[in-house]
Amino acid sequence: MTGPIDQITLAHFLLTGAVLFALGVVGFLTRRNLIIMFLCTEMMFQGVAVSLVGFSAFHVNVTGQTFVIFVLTIAAAEAALALGLVVLLFRRKRTLDAEAWAGMKG
């Protein structure tokens, strides 16, 4: 590993990570397609990963990169479970629209 990156260099990478995260949140809130909603959570993971690797280069410590491996693990587990659930929901109502499942609303 080389020396630490500059503070403003880090801020640039944090900017990209924050924008990816915020776009993921907006996508999760606006899209009504169940699969795309989960895709947007993966986009939030990407934003977090960019920030983690940026901090890893800033503090000259690879633990940030190790955490990205754990993030990948959770993303893979989440994709397997969530997509299984989505397929199950689709088999019941033949639609991917999240509004179709608003019946549990209080």
Partner: protein, 293 residues
Amino acid sequence: MQTPIAIYIASFIGSVGLLLMMPKRWLNLHKLGALLGAAALGGLWLFLSWKLPWGKLGVSDGSFIYYYIFSAISIIASVRVITNTRPVYAALWFVMVVLASAGLFLVLGAEFIAFAVIIIYGGAILVTYMFVLMLASQAGDPQDPRDIPVADRIAFEPVLAIAAGFLLLSVLLTLAFEPMAPNPAARAPSDEQIIETILSDRSAPVVARTLAGDDADLPAVPPLADPRKLSNTERVGLDLFQSHPLGLELAGVILLLALIGAVVIAKTKVAGEDTVNPEARSVWDRANTWQDL
């Protein structure tokens, strides 16, 4: 560094641009929205690049140019993910986000993570998403915009969602531009220290050869390029197995649980499914009849 008001102005303009790009019933000005978003991002970068200490960025000046390229690609692609009305295209744009952020990791010198992200995200997870999208697609002509379900065509509460996203982005950017200094206590030991203390026999002949005997027919291992330096993969592997063994075990357990859970979910019987889809039933029956013959 004070929190400059320019950051808030830029993210507000970007939010308005995103609002215009969202698929809505009213006011669909995609081109104007894209222009506003690009202006916000470009203005923000122009404003920030005044303060960049070229020459001592921590990464080489040449590779920092790639930051702008990859960052622009990833942001444009992620906007397309959330504004595209066709789910399959949204998933394909997400592959672009993954590739571009892998490029950002390469700029930071994190090669292992970059290629792991491409293989796992771009390869495995996205293929799963595409499979489910294909499995769960409704009938209809994919080229006809009227056949796209309303849930995909119209964004849900775009104004409120984008207001929430703007607030979140403002908070995150305020924190990102706070003055920060690297924590000297967090600094990992240098390559030389690790080689001396932990990997003392790293540049020695390969262990497998001595175990198997000299006459064993083993493939030749190329010598290390620089025995005094550790590669990024070696650093990540050391950190993973030395500092986080418990996390590694937990990750394995979580993956196993997800595997079992996915099988259980997939095998769940859905009541009345066969009556819902008579066409699929008849195809299935026909296939079985052919096999019987």
